[in-house]
């Protein structure tokens, strides 16, 4: 239950698991950045960005986020990192 002293080197599998979690942590920040890009676009009537382009960009980012998240969750399950705890 208590924190065991972490070993210096990890097995390959746990190492992969931890890097996966690192990626998982970065993902929302990446999403935030990508979705902040529209802030840079010119706005108003004379805007050069059409709504269809905006739709393609924003939903493209969305699709990427979903796929990346799905991939992480798939590999996370395989890595067997203990995420879940059933009622007990």
């Amino acid at each position: 239950m208590s924190e065991r002293r972490s070993p210096l080197f990890l097995e390959r599998q746990s190492y992969r698991g931890r890097r996966l979690v690192d990626f998982l942590r970065i993902l929302p920040l990446l999403g935030g950045l990508l979705w902040a890009v529209p802030l840079l676009w010119p706005t108003g009537e004379e805007s050069t960005v059409t709504t269809s382009e905006a739709i393609i960009y924003i939903f493209g980012v969305w699709l990427f986020m979903v796929l990346a998240s799905a991939a992480v969750s798939f590999f996370l399950r395989r890595s067997g990192l203990s995420v879940e705890r059933k009622d007990g």
Partner: protein, 896 residues
Amino acid sequence: MATMNILVAVCFVYVAFLFFVAFAAERAARQGRSGWLRSPMVYTLSLSIYCTAWTFYGAVGYAARSGMEYLTIYIGPTLVMIGWWWGLRKLVRIGRTQRVTSIADLISSRYGKSNLLAIGVTVLAVIGTTPYIALQLQSVTLSFSVFADAADKSGGMTDMDSTALLVAMGLALFTILFGTRNLDVNERHHGVVIAIAVEAIVKLFALLAVGAFVVWGVVGGVGEMMARIDASDIGHWQMRGDRWASLIFLSAAAFLCLPRMFQVMVVENDDEGHLRTASWAFPAYLMVMSLFVVPIAVTGLDLLPEGSNPDLFVLTLPLAMGKEGLAMLSFIGGFSSATSMVIVAALALSTMVSNHIVMPIWLSVTGGGASVSGDVRNVVITSRRFSIAGVVVLGYLYFRVSGGGTALASIGLVSFAGVAQLLPVLLGGVFWRGATRTGAFVGLSVGFVVWTYSLLLPSFGPDAVLSTQILDQGPFGWSWLRPQAFFGIEGLDPLVHAILWSISLNGLSFVLASMVGFPTPLERLQGAQFVNVYEHSTTPQSWSGNAAQSEDLMIMSQRILGAREAQTLFEREAKRQGVSGYLPDTTPDFLQALERALSGSVGTATAHAMIGQIVGGASVSVEDLLAVADETAQMMEYSSRLEAKSDEQARTARQLRQANEKLQQISVQKDAFLSQVSHELRTPMTSIRAFSEILRDSERLSESEQVKYASIIHDEALRLTRLLDDLLDLSVLENGQVNLNIQSGQLGRLLDHAIASALTGSGAEGFVIHRDSVLEAVRLTTDLDRLSQVFINLISNAQKYCDADVPELAIRVSPRDDRIVIDFVDNGSGISKEDQAVIFEKFARVGAMRAGGAGLGLAICREIMARLGGSVSYLPGQGGAAFRVILPTSQAMAAQ
């Protein structure tokens, strides 16, 4: 036109279908087939109550008015879900380890189980949610009116208010039926969750159908659609950057703080692994939900007449194209979104209102907390039902009074900003050990006041609550305090202005007040448990509970959890401690477990207070403070190892002590047994000898005297035979040489027979027996004669030993899994704790040998029940002497 009637009929069929689904799910869960009910997909779909009617109808209207801004409402939650490893995982873990019942419960529990704080959060949540419920009712009535207008020519107009009222009543009924079925929130609401999962599919399907119809049916393909979008009024990117950023933040905050989201996300979660699936599946759901919004908006603006309400395009567009079936589907989709939101919101709010406002008031009014008489469980359920009805009625009243606002989205955002005030306190509590109760109070109050003043009141329009003069010049002419331009900073969008100031002032004052004050030990302890939940999710917050009486605790928890759950809990805890029976020692561990179990029913603060009342006050032990102060890995590991060892030793010692006591008692009993047997044998022998000598030696005995003496000899001989029979019976049973005579029969009839045999000729007038013939209609296949012997013994014991003025005996039968439980409870003074341990031993008799049995009855009963594959035991805490007979119903018995 029959559309209106069809619509009403479809509505009823749909609602009936939902009831059926919920009912079937509850049934499946009760029968233990709940596996598929709890798949990650169901969890993900249940999260979709985020998409209310505001999404279904309002998003299109929003897009028609402000272009792409509507996307912010879905991007925020997407980021939260994708970042689940940061925040949600921790919230869910805390929710599960602390058995949190609502967001108010979580916050109150984190800040030292403060009920005042819980009340504050509850009030804020109710204020923030009521307009939202009104919004759902409004959207349903509006969509009705669309069909009614179409049917108007034939005079099929319906009354809008009565529609809303009907909908509200139906929703309240559904929530009460499936939301308050079980009290312990950890048992979770399977029916409700499945119903909203189904609704999630329905609304997604409906919106996709309309979208696909518009893109491919009306416009003719994606390319054409894109061209039309670019040619429309919203064809160019026009966005206020401040609104884009702050709305994404706002929706993310609301997603975490909305009571209904907290309910499905944390409270109803029963496997943290589900988050992993939801982390991508829910963003995908949101993406698909918002995909067709712009196409529908643009097409609606193009094709529908000027001035038609864009909030209803999803409905009016198919209708205008003559697709009534599609319009109907879309109506059902909107109906789904509205109903699922109201159901869960009412459920979440009612838990908060009942646990944090009604229950504390009720407890203080009735005067005695845990020691009051009566069934607390019923009070909790009743108060929860009334709270549900109250919340829905409040929403309905708001709808009536406001008369149905203009744009759906604006109420939604005001409401979002209100609940977002919980964010600093929530995040601070979960990530920062230094956050204190005072800080939380100050932060929440400041946030609430600023939100009310700068957003809620102005949202009613100028001169509604705040006069135009105050809006323009500030109160008392203080221009730096203008509601929409604090400190003279003008030009900000009013919403952005309100979010910026309320959240930042809220957070700032929360942090500052936390740093200035000093927390109580309980706050620090809870803080450590919340913030470091992954390290010591099992470290209990301690009770020093040696003075507590387990029996009192049992009486109290039976009232709250129900007799069966409480007995199971106590039995399990006793077993864990290595003690037999139903009464565990009141160790801190046990009290901790009990408090968690109770808090699932009445909330943390109340449970803590109730146990505190019996135990005599909580205290924080030195070990706990050490755990907070010093957490180096070695220290923790060392102490935990020691703790485990000492726990084990304590357990062994307890067992040894118990065994030793029992041995001593048995040895005393054995001596007593021998002298008892000699005594019992000798008394009749003496009189037999004496009277037979008289008969032999006396010459002149009258006829009647002879008969009298002979019958005395006969009686005494009978007594001897009975005693020897009993002894023999017992030894046969104990050696397992008995042959069982298996027959089938009715339990009720067996009890009739037993009562008749036990009470005939025993002078038992006025001995009342309560029974329930319906429950007794059970067929048994067992040795009926032996079982009847047990019943006769228990009944005649009750009749002999019950010392009440009006003796009564209740026989309660309850089926339980594959066993039948039969309780015999009388209203006498019961059996003392010392005697409870020995009554099943041979020749054990309680108190003075008033009734003069040999003390073999219960020993024989125990042996018989063991042979029949069941058991008989003493059940403490029932108000009198109570014996519990447990019998297997299935054939699989100890086949001797």
